[in-house]
């Protein structure tokens, strides 16, 4: 089932939490929402799950519209809300049984589904404990188990790995990737590495608007148009090297990175590359070029550039 969001706007009082955004997620795609706190990620997710009614705009999940067939959408969505709300007094098994019943899982299938979820989410040792007795990581697993119990076509996960330790994070990411091959998944996070590791596509949201949309590579290219090189030149006068580098036609800026070993940061003009020119320069002057490597724009930088303006 695909998700189509068209001109979604959500206004709280005077604030536009989500401002006229449109996007589409295909089946078999994992979309990552990135954005600072309060950017409108959760609001968008809550609208897709039919919890919030948009101020304007429409959302379709498969062939169902949130206004006309909210129940069909709810049947097909697995949702893990922000902060993972659970009933602390309920034992894990009872809670999963309750959810399975509400989600309309066939009663004959209850036991099998619950056992599978307990297994998939690694809850074997805690299944008879009350939720209140679980650690944060295990609660998060219960949250995932309840979202997956009815084998939903669409999975909406609001910050799924908060509170998990590094091993669990890797497990959960693998699980999400596995599910994402056949289902439609939207997840939000502010851990950039996580989104990069799990998602096919990244969408950066800021102040209720989409500011970037594409694969991690595409986003890097989009933001880092200029070539940046780290150059180490040995056996040479640093100031002279600096001057000579500045004279190169394609170079926009040269900076010292490490004066001890003679490392410079060379930023080229937009669209130009200085690699060949630097090599030729070293050959001409008999300098020893020991390093010449391009610096990739990190996703963090892309994120900061897009959301700090």
């Amino acid at each position: 089932m695909n998700i189509v969001v068209e001109n979604l706007t959500k206004i709280y009082g005077l604030q536009r939490a989500v401002d006229n955004i449109s996007f589409q997620v295909e089946t078999g795609e994992v979309l990552g929402f990135l954005g600072p706190n309060g950017a409108g990620k959760s609001t968008t997710m809550k609208s897709i799950t039919t919890y919030l009614t948009p101020s304007s705009g429409t959302i379709r999940v498969g062939n169902y519209n949130i206004y006309d067939h909210p129940e069909e959408i709810r049947r097909n969505i697995g949702y893990l809300p922000e902060n993972n709300p659970l009933y602390p007094d309920m034992p894990v098994i009872d809670y999963l049984k309750f959810v399975a019943g509400l989600q309309g899982v066939e009663p004959s299938q209850h036991k099998a589904r619950i056992l599978e979820m307990v297994h998939v989410c690694g809850l074997e040792g805690e299944k008879h404990k009350k939720i209140a007795e679980l650690s944060k990581g295990y609660r998060q697993r219960v949250g995932l188990a309840q979202a997956l119990i009815h084998d939903p076509e669409v999975l909406i996960l609001d910050e799924p790995t908060t509170g998990l330790d590094p091993n669990q994070i890797v497990e959960i990411r693998e699980l999400i990737r596995k599910i994402g091959r056949q289902k439609t998944v939207i997840l939000s996070s502010h851990i950039l590495a996580e989104v990069e590791a799990t998602c096919d596509r990244i969408m950066i949201i800021n102040k209720g608007k989409i500011v970037a949309d594409g694969t991690a590579d595409a986003l890097r290219k989009h933001a880092g148009g200029k070539e940046i090189l780290h150059v180490t030149i040995e056996d040479a006068q640093l100031n002279e090297v600096h001057q000579q580098l500045m004279k190169l036609e394609s170079v926009e800026m040269v900076d010292f990175v490490n004066k001890e070993n003679g490392t410079f940061e060379v930023q080229s003009k937009t669209g130009a590359s200085s690699r060949k020119a630097i090599f030729m320069l070293c050959v001409q002057n008999n300098w020893v070029l020991t390093r010449l490597n391009p610096i990739e724009t990190r996703l963090e930088d892309v994120f900061r550039e897009l959301t700090l303006s």
Partner: protein, 239 residues
């Protein structure tokens, strides 16, 4: 119906898990038993084989206990955010409300069932009016339903249980005292309206075993109005 039952079962379970149910049952039976059999103008004082004293006592005990049962039903879900998960399941708001209503109603029904020995005791003492007893119990269930609906409405307004409890009590007091007081201090049509709205006048008849259509319509409308308002609040929270 199935979904309503699933929600009701979960609510019922949480009454017992949180010990609320045990406390409620013990205190209700203790209170109504004490005032019915042992203290003040008790059942022996009226010199009739009638449970009307018990009905009068229950009327007041339930007035305090039902808000204590309903106070957390929406307030706690609002506070922890579980309401978001509940309302994004394939259930309607009405099924959620009905499930919570049903669980509380069944618990009250269970509490009243445990007072049946009172009936058998009184019946063995003299000639009891069975019709009056049945309609007395029916009246208690009717009033309980009204309290439950008001309690659910109050609980849906807040994310604090105590506020939910106090609000339900405040609305209850309005129907118990304020309206009849206003009826006394005004006159004409206004007084009649307030008198109509007051619960207390109706209960006197009910505890004697008399329920007329007028009362039935009154309670059903009160229940309906409270539940519709609860649904409106759930809807409003989505905006």
């Amino acid at each position: 119906m199935n979904k309503i039952w699933i929600i009701a079962k979960k609510e019922w379970q949480s009454f017992f898990d949180s010990l609320t149910a045990y406390i409620m049952l013990v205190v209700f039976l203790g209170f109504s038993g004490f005032f019915t059999w042992l203290f003040g103008s008790d059942i022996f004082f009226v010199k009739q084989a009638s449970l009307s004293v018990f009905f009068g006592v229950s009327y007041w005990t339930l007035f305090f206990f039902i808000p204590a049962l309903t106070m957390r039903q929406f307030a706690e879900e609002n506070k922890t955010g579980t309401i978001e998960l509940l309302l994004t399941r394939p259930v309607t708001d009405w099924q959620v409300i009905a499930g919570k209503f049903l669980a509380t109603f069944l618990l009250i029904g269970f509490a009243l069932l445990l007072t049946l020995p009172y009936y058998f005791t009184v019946a063995s003492l003299g000639n009891i009016d069975n019709g009056a007893t049945i309609s007395g119990y029916f009246g208690l269930l009717l009033i309980s339903s009204a309290y439950i609906s008001i309690g659910l409405f109050a609980s849906s307004l807040t994310n604090n249980q105590i506020v939910g409890f106090l609000l339900a009590m405040a609305i209850g007091i309005l129907f118990h005292f304020i309206f009849s007081l206003l009826a006394m201090s005004t006159g004409g049509l206004v007084a009649e309206t307030f008198n109509y709205l007051s619960i207390s006048a109706r209960f006197d008849a009910i505890s004697r075993g008399v329920i007329d259509t007028n009362d039935l319509i009154y309670f059903v409308s009160l229940i309906f109005l409270s539940l519709v308002s609860t649904e409106a609040i759930l809807q409003k929270n989505r905006n």
